[in-house]
């Protein structure tokens, strides 16, 4: 902490506060109310926010700093998950060995893939990573079924060896006995706030990941990575070979992805091959760009944004819509519901697609740019280093 600048420290503290109080912040609406549909403060989604936040932060270390756009990052997430589940199957349901192994395996895997892919740059690099990820997916889905359990996904069975399982060990994922799923519900008036142990484990790792990311951003290493993005020729004529730097960034972000994968399996001990499909990699890219490439907080926001839509908007069905507009006369109610039903429930993809377009058209620096703009309006234009990277913000849409 002592190495951080003042503004970084305050960012970290804000993130820590947000993470700690997430069960309150994400549950603003009382339970009975119609708006309770928009509450996101339940364990699974909060865990996902944190996990995908880690993933996006890690991706941003590669893409945001070096400009190398990997289209295959989901592969490392998948590999991390598989290794974690294997640890559950072989040792015990304690998440510590699982998370350690998932980070290591993802690191080794990304070293291997990065070593090959980083021989090329630009779109050639992107397509190479994409192809490696697609191969991993195809193989995991079919040929490698003994290792991955294919279509169904790898899970823990009763007859697995679990060599470290004592007679009294918990049969669900835990941290030295503390179960990930244990939740304490605080009923406060009409609100019910859920404090889930698993979520706080994820939040701890999120903060750790965030802190490391700040350190990397502010280190000479981070500076070199940003130099690679803006001008490789100059960097080479400064006596530096950019390859080791990009490879290190690639491996670090691969390890972040592995950590995310390990955590995902720790919260829910199942690893499916779809986790590695190219659309999953694309989702990571979208999260990062949507939030703000090269910013510290952006990727976390982007991850939250997409996961929120996936989990909240997809669950709004016509019955819910009718409920909301029940106060309107029948005809009008039906008309509104008819229009809205294209955008929620089975139409949530449409809303997401439209929002992608709107954000990238009007906020070239992603959500972080929106935030900076709003803040500048109120504060009269002070900037303390969390502005989106200049490349993303130089050209407005028109």
């Amino acid at each position: 902490m002592r190495h951080l600048s003042k503004s970084d420290k305050s960012t970290l503290i804000i993130v820590a506060a947000l993470a700690l109080l997430a069960p309150f912040i994400l549950n603003p609406f009382p339970e009975g109310s119609a708006l309770a549909q928009f509450n996101a403060g339940y364990p699974d989604l909060m865990q996902r926010f944190a996990i995908f936040g880690i993933l996006a932060i890690g991706f941003n270390i590669l893409f945001g700093l070096t400009g190398y756009l990997s289209f295959g990052h989901a592969a490392f997430l998948g590999v991390g998950s598989y290794s974690a589940v294997w640890m559950f199957k072989l040792l015990s349901m304690n998440i510590v060995p699982a998370i350690i192994l998932s980070v290591i395996v993802a690191g080794v895997f990304s070293l291997l893939i990065g070593f090959i892919c980083l021989r090329r740059s630009g779109i050639y690099f992107s397509i190479l990573t994409l192809m490696f990820a697609q191969m991993s997916y195809s193989l995991a889905y079919s040929v490698l079924t003994p290792l991955t359990n294919g279509e169904t996904g790898l899970q823990v069975y009763n007859d697995d060896p679990q060599y470290l399982m004592g007679p009294n060990s918990p049969t669900v994922t835990n941290l030295f006995g503390l179960e990930m799923r244990s939740t304490f519900t605080l009923d406060l008036g009409p609100w019910a706030f859920q404090f889930n142990f698993g979520y706080y484990v994820c939040a701890f790792f999120l903060l750790l990941a965030f802190y490391i990311a700040i350190r990397i951003f502010r280190s000479p290493f981070g500076l070199m990575l940003r130099a690679i993005k803006t001008n490789q020729t100059r960097l080479n004529y400064t006596g530096l070979n950019s390859r080791p730097y990009t490879l290190a960034a690639f491996v670090i972000s691969g390890m972040y992805a592995g950590l995310a994968g390990g955590l995902m399996a720790s919260m829910d001990p199942l690893a499916g091959a779809e986790r590695m499909y190219w659309t999953a990699s694309g989702e990571i890219v979208l999260m990062t760009i949507l939030g703000g490439v090269g910013t510290l907080l952006g990727p976390v926001l982007g991850a939250g944004f997409i996961k929120y839509f996936e989990n909240i908007f997809s669950k709004i069905n016509e019955t819910v819509l009718h409920g909301w507009f029940a106060f309107l006369p029948d005809g009008l109610n039906d008309a509104i519901v008819w229009v809205l039903h294209f955008f929620v429930g089975k139409g949530w993809h449409l809303t997401l697609g439209l929002l992608f377009m709107l954000i990238v058209i009007f906020l070239p620096g992603g959500l972080m740019e929106g935030w900076t703009r709003i803040r500048n309006k109120f504060r009269g234009g002070k900037d303390d280093g969390e502005a989106p990277s200049p490349t993303a913000a130089t050209t407005p849409a028109e």
Binding site: F63, G67, L69, I116, R119, R120, S121, G122, I123, Y124, I127, L128, L130, M131, F132, Q134, M135, S138, L139, S142, V143, W278, T279, G282, V285, L286, I289, L290, V293, F342, G347, H349, L350, L352, G353, L354, L355, F356, M357, V360, I361, P364, T391, A392, T395, A397, E398
Partner: protein, 348 residues
Amino acid sequence: MDAILLQILNGLDKGSAYALIALGLTLIFGTLGVVNFAHGALFMLGSFCAVALSKIFNISKITIDPDKVDFLGNPLKVKTPYVIEWFGESTGAAIIDWSVPLAILFAIPVMLLVGYVMERGLIKHFYKRPHADQILVTFGLAIVIQEIIKAAFGANPIPTPAPDVFRGSYDFGVLLGMEANAVIYPFWRLIYFAFSTVIIASVFAFLQFTTFGMVVRAGMADRETVGLLGINIDKRFTFMFGIAAAVAGLAGVMYTPINSPNYHMGMDFLVLSFVVVVVGGMGSLPGAVLAGFLLGVLESFASMNEVKGFFEALYLPSIDQIIIYLVAIIILLARPRGLMGRAGVMEE
């Protein structure tokens, strides 16, 4: 021998589809410098032009047949398509039967318009933006187009067969003096191959032999200089976007009888078409076509039982799943800019 011949046919056929899509992608990239993730969606839109036309032909007049009942016991509603009403049984049925070829005429103006609107309304504003932004916005657009089609036509594939005369297959084996059924190939796929070849040839001829095309090519090589000559290159590039959309659309129309179209077919092709473009070399039209055919043939050979068996003996089962990627990776490692790419294009 017969098996190899068959797979060459298959490969050329598949390859022609890849080449057509990659050609359009490269046209857009080469002229406008835009990475268009919505190109697969344009292909899909083309297919749905054919579906829509066949639905239009099937718009029916509903009469009640009191003698028959439907599954609920209500009087049966009999549907007679208006085209049959108007043009008589045989002509009407023929029009419906020929809806896919007729859709070509329908798709060209529609796709040109779609391309034009897309370029003027959206893509234009992204020329100077980073490629990542272009990817994001076109990906968003692709999702939106898909979802609109899904809302209108549903998620299930919609069978849109070729005209009756083109059903069945041609026996090449007999032609080459082999026994019957040794090498047979469906008529419609042969037509698809021929059609693609013609379209590819026309695009090249257009760029090579017309003044318009020459200006566009010059613009692709050096946009500023052409602009300095007082030529409005932007207008021509917009038109090329329309052409690329139309090429994708036509590829889609003709593809409908081969596989029933569905709303996400564009995404299925997207990854592969990018692989094709990159293997061909970013910005190279001949490269895209060459890579399309190469990967098509390769994929077909990899799916041969003999080849699969050979790799299985080497403990490499399911080689057909990954062969394209493997070969593409090797090509990219051996040739840094794909088969025919230029230096400095999208390498930053």
